[in-house]
Point group: D2
């Protein structure tokens, strides 16, 4: 099951076209990622501030279907997936009520913060990823049984 | 009684010094103001996007006592006050648990959005201001009685 | 020939990991796009503020190869291309000296700002696109002659 | 003589009211401060990223006289002043052509980055401050002579 994060659109998110500035959609997705890590028990201050290990984003993409306005209540649905010993990808879907507003992807690689060389994902990140994997597999197993 | 708004510090709020970038504290205060307007029944999209009347900030100040880090849960306590037929001021106090982190002020003037000439505050803003005034006066009346 | 825009990395672009926050790379690309429009004679205030026609971004993607730090002098090389009567795409390459730091794409669709229905690209945008096309074609023609 | 920094207003600086978002004016002032430090020979990456010493802002204030729009060319005039062994203040004036748009102040205190205890200003900052002081004093001396 994906993680969901609800977020009110702030005035500071908008631009002179009256809607959310395009790059801010990715910031809102990152907030959902942070919230999901926090919910999994990861201490965000240590994780994002003075960690030996960093998880920089190496790729991001976003598709916009509808504009968002100040005061809108967006629901961000997030699903991470391990794609290597040292990387994972997160898929995001943004909704207003049940209308799909935008879809986004961020791809993260684990590196040593000082040398910037690749590192295996840390146990806490593996655990965070697994918490979604188990649920995904269970959903697929249930679907398979229903088919049978 | 002041309005309170709780806000998690996001990674995007921080800078390379590892703490919240100074100007972002004012954005977080503005979020609290938006939330307070919304709670009072004001439709934020219409209010901030295509309104005939605007309430630009003509003065802002902020004092920083302690740094804020990613993941911190800040409580913003906000108290608005009418200071003229066409202006009001908001006082903000930011806390981490019960530790005062920062204090800020924003002063707003009501103008016609196209001509930018001064306007009397709209009934919905007066009502929003009054909802805090009554409570403030009541607190003061109670204090006065206690003194007697 | 692509348009180039040089930009110093500001402290406000960075995050607690000490480098430019990922979504801000797209904002820097958008600045280059604005500068390119301005150079073509388009009045940015009218274009971005109270226009009947808007050019919202419907897709953006970015690949990050190296981090950027406060004070870095980034060169953004930008090349727009018409991809339909109502849309165009911009390719961006970000360099530090001659090292490729990031690549990005934004795709823009022309709409009526109030109805949000699709519109043909305006003459000023066509002219801006053509100014790059002519140069691109000339480069290709020269290459063809050299081959012969 | 104050330091001057010219800055085009970007689309990302604006909000749904069509003008620069209030808190972003302070970010633009900070850019001018960074540029002034860079011009003085200070390496910004080391200064803002992995320094033992930090210069956090403990107070900021800003007065807004006129709105700024996307594409506007703002001139920021900056004048720093030492106000103690461990602190300094910067005064900013923002102009559009010769029209005063906003005034701002930031007050900075020198601290040890890890313990966050107060520190004397570093020699490089003293030198940066002095470069403005000498000029200010000279201007005053000249004025005094003219009076005589």
């Amino acid at each position: 099951m994906p993680f969901t994060y609800t977020r009110t659109i702030h005035f500071s998110d908008t631009d002179a076209a009256g809607v959310v500035y395009f790059a801010n959609i990715l910031s809102i997705c990152h907030e959902a990622y942070e919230e999901s890590l926090g919910t999994s028990g990861i201490k965000l201050k240590a994780f994002f501030t003075n960690s030996d290990v960093a998880l920089p984003i190496v790729h991001a993409s976003v598709d916009f279907f509808r504009p968002l306005f100040c005061g809108d209540q967006v629901i961000i649905s997030l699903m991470p997936q391990k794609i290597g010993v040292d990387k994972f990808e997160i898929n995001y879907e943004l909704f207003l009520a049940d209308i799909l507003i935008a879809k986004a992807i961020t791809r993260h690689v684990c590196i040593d913060a000082s040398s910037r060389s690749k590192q295996e994902l840390s146990p806490e990140i593996i655990q965070w990823l697994n918490s979604y994997r188990k649920e995904t597999e269970e959903v697929e197993r249930r679907k398979a049984r229903e088919v049978i």
